[in-house]
């Protein structure tokens, strides 16, 4: 294996990986049959996914350095390079993107019947853009992808969503834009304050003045918080998740939400360690509110997609909670939870998609007795439901356990309250499970509803496999990121120590 890929070290692997889906999207401009469109898109995403093998094999787990780095001069006036690279924090997210994209193509195989070329072009562009966000090493490139993402996503929700998709798409776009423009002002300011550079590594070492850190932290926080989303910036989320076509919902829940939390780890905390320390308590409280509010709202939902949307909100709160502890364990737990939540929530939305295709409804009250009608499908839902509640042996358990154990060290009350979130999570999942799988079969089911098909099993299998593997053997992920998270936490605390001393001297 090693020999097979060793030549690739010199190749601009990351750029090629990002370009494959984008080029395939360009090919979709040509007229072709709908079957060709689907096959081309699937091939493009699968070829891109193949890049995970050399990335996995060649990635050096014993360093926190950026790897596979490519640097090309880009804009001299801005002192800007095209620079991409991967470290232990971004690699899991890149792998998640590579996994989710072919799944999304497969999941749209039958559900999408109109304007296929545009649809798949948007999906493929989304993959390129998502990869771009996780590998960018400078703020301009990061922001470039961050904003560019709005275009295909807006079209996906608006054009292929349900009737109210157009409104939801506009809401999604305006919320995200409103958040990211504050980030834009922050980027401009940090360029001028931090020594005229956009390089993320250089800015992480720049040691900004404390008052500047506070303001810039707020500006960047709003940008990232809208994307996660964090209460009170979540107004767009339930609508967008519910109205979007299945694949778009999966992308939003599985990957886009992670862009926000990734921003916390890559930009927000390394740049503004003093501010992060200052806002530690408010951040923990906001995460807690997000957990409880999301779970509480999920209890009241009839629409299954909205239920999972709110549960996703609640789980994102856990991820933020772990990050906000500023401890290595908490951050590792959060990254595991990012992957786990991406896979589990993604799979749940996919499952809802398959159910909706069969039963033409998403309302809890219209379901019942699925275990008798579609046993295989019901089994998949059982596994996913257990995974979502954080059942031991599944990936979410590992993530939540690490997060909560780090929260309990020092923030006992917050940790204890967060447990309520877990309990509420069990309550709404059990209720939904009881209502859909165990209750009496609905008399309204269409005739001749079939169970999961091979194509559908094809995308559930890898997702469930990841859930179980990470749940039983979290070490594979942990050892990827250990050095990077340790490095991050060390940098945070060393800078904090310096600023504390400086503060003491004043």
């Amino acid at each position: 294996m090693i020999n097979l890929f060793s030549d690739l070290h010199a190749a601009p692997m990351i750029s090629i990986m990002m370009l494959v889906p984008a080029i395939a999207a360009l090919f979709l401009l040509l007229p072709m049959s709908s079957r060709a469109v689907r096959v081309l898109s699937l091939c493009a995403t699968l070829i891109t996914a193949l890049f995970s093998l050399p990335l996995w094999e060649l990635f050096d787990k014993s360093t926190a350095q950026m790897q596979f780095v490519e640097r090309i001069p880009w804009v001299d006036l801005w002192n800007l390079e095209y620079s991409v690279g991967i470290d232990g924090i971004s690699l899991p997210l890149v792998l998640l993107t590579l996994l989710i994209s072919p799944v999304c193509v497969l999941a749209s195989w039958q559900g999408i019947t109109t304007r296929l070329r545009g649809y798949y072009a948007c999906l493929l562009l989304m993959e390129s853009i998502m990869l771009g966000i996780f590998v960018s090493l400078n703020l301009v490139l990061f922001f470039f992808f961050w904003e560019a993402m709005l275009v295909p996503m807006y079209l996906l929700i608006g054009m292929w969503g349900s009737e109210r998709g157009r409104v939801a798409a506009m809401k999604f776009l305006l919320f995200t834009l409103a958040g990211s423009i504050f980030m834009l002002v922050g980027i401009v300011a940090i360029f001028l304050l931090g020594g005229r550079t956009f390089d993320i590594a250089a800015l992480s070492r720049s040691g900004l003045a404390q008052s500047a850190q506070i303001w810039l932290f707020i500006a960047f926080f709003i940008g990232f918080a809208v994307k996660v989303p964090v209460v009170p910036f979540h107004g767009w989320q339930p609508d967008a998740y519910a109205e979007a076509p299945t694949a778009a919902t999966v992308i939003m829940a599985a990957v886009l939400a992670k862009m926000g939390t990734y921003g916390f780890l890559r930009v927000l905390f390394p740049f503004f360690p003093y501010a992060a320390q200052t806002f530690l308590e408010p951040l923990l409280v906001i995460s807690l509110i997000t957990i409880l509010y999301g779970a509480y709202c999920a209890l009241a939902q009839q629409d299954l997609k909205r239920l999972i949307a709110y549960s996703s909100l609640s789980h994102m709160g856990f991820i933020l909670l772990g990050i906000a502890t500023l401890s290595s364990i908490g951050i590792q737990g959060s990254i595991i939870q990012m992957i786990s939540h991406g896979v589990i929530t993604g799979a749940l939305f996919l499952w809802i998609g398959t159910a909706e295709e069969r039963f033409k409804t998403r309302m809890l009250r219209d379901f019942g007795g699925l275990s008798r009608v579609v046993p295989v499908s019901a089994t998949v839902f059982t596994v996913l439901g257990l995974a979502a509640t954080g059942f031991p042996g599944m990936s979410a358990f590992v993530g939540e356990f690490l997060i909560l154990s780090s929260v309990f060290q020092g923030h006992l009350i917050i940790g204890a309250t967060a447990i309520f979130g877990v309990v509420l999570g069990v309550v709404y999942m059990c209720w939904a499970y009881y209502r859909m799988v165990l209750f009496n079969p609905s008399s309204l089911y269409p005739q001749g509803v079939g169970d999961l098909r091979l194509r559908e099993m094809m995308f559930f299998t890898p997702l469930v496999a990841v859930v179980l593997i990470v749940g039983v053997q979290p070490g594979i992920l942990l050892e990827l990121m250990r050095f990077s998270t340790d490095h991050l936490v060390m940098a945070l605390h060393s800078v904090n120590a310096v600023t504390h001393v400086a503060g003491g001297l004043q």
């Binding site: 804009v75 904003e147 506009m170 834009l177 504050f182 002002v185």
Partner: protein, 459 residues
Amino acid sequence: MSELSILRPEIVLTLSMLCIFLAGLAIRSKVVLGLMTIAAAGVTAYLVPSVSGSGFDGMFIADAYGTFFKLLFMLTLILGAMLGIGAPVIRERHASEYFCLLMLASVGMMCMASAGDMIVLYIGLELMSLSVYVLTGFHRENLFSNEAAMKYLLLGTFATAILLFGTAIVYMLTGSTNIAAIAAHMTAGGNGGSPLLMLAVLSIVVAFGFKVAAVPFHMWAPDAYHGAPTPVTAFMSVGPKAAAFAAFGRVLVDGFGPALAVWTPAITVLVVLTVAGGNLLALRQDNVKRMLAYSSVAHAGYMMLGMLAGTRVGMNAVMTYLAVYAFMNMGVFAVMLMLENGEERSAYAGLAKRQPLLAIAMLIFLFSLTGIPPAAGFVGKFQVFLAAVGAGHTALVVVAVIFSVVSAYYYLRLVGTMFMSEGDESVACSTSGALILTVAITVAFVLLLGIVPSLVLFG
């Protein structure tokens, strides 16, 4: 004679204009006359970088700053001519007048960009304005077009009168109308804080506000933009606006740069009002052309933000913005011309189904106008914000970006109409090669400049 040589581009363009005017007596073909105009613009653009220096006692300056603007004017002239060739509203029998007026306005704009003296600025401004007034009323059987021209003429004359008033006071205070002499006087600390200086500078700012259609001096803009034939609207939303920035950049930044504190508060107020007013009023427009008129008002606000830095660095940002803006705004109007009844929102309904490529082009223009990368509009906004934050106007930039979210709503509502609603299948789409070419060129540049910003960054 040697001094005349720095006027070479202007002279060539004027002579070509006369030739085309004479040729128009014999040739009635829009395509031929249009191609002649484009050729003349091309030759002029070729000559522009070859001249440098200043002449006529510093009244006329050919420098890199002027060169950039002149090239931009040639670009708008070429695109304006192409729109004229493709648009049926410009009749074959009036073609030579259309092209001649475009060229004459361009000569005026070139003088403005090279003005080293308030008098040259005034002459250039009048030449440009008079040509554009006529162009606004070019659709002479159309009452709406006539009304627009009349409004524009009256308010425009008012503005130039105010400019003259300001210039007269400046002459009284400094003893010169030369911009360099004014700067020397200001640096020496003359008249610091005198009410007369304040009045003079405010008059100049007001005149400037009129010309770039800054709120509250924008009243003429929506009517003039809406009433004018669409190719003219496209031209005047870019060219004259750029010329005003070029000339007033010289006056305010170079001339009154040392007296920054006098005019920046006034421009600050204009920026806030323009960005807020332009975007909020655009929100309420049902007519697409009128919406774009207000959006053009709002964009002037973002450009003024760059000017606020009060330095050439700030002006460089304005130049970047203008270059990008020229492509995206011309592109939007080209798409509008391609659709039958393109001023109405209904013409865009379901465009993605009927003309997918045209809809994608429009999508790129609208996202560019919103300022979303990888479209070039982002580069302009980013550069202007860098200049303004660098000069300490962070709060103002925050206000500006908040209103850019408002602008996203009305631009993307149109995207929604194109991509997410069903429309009338029978709406015709022009097959004019000139228009298709214009759209193709502008789209290519909007994407190219977004990905390779160095092409329009000046440092």
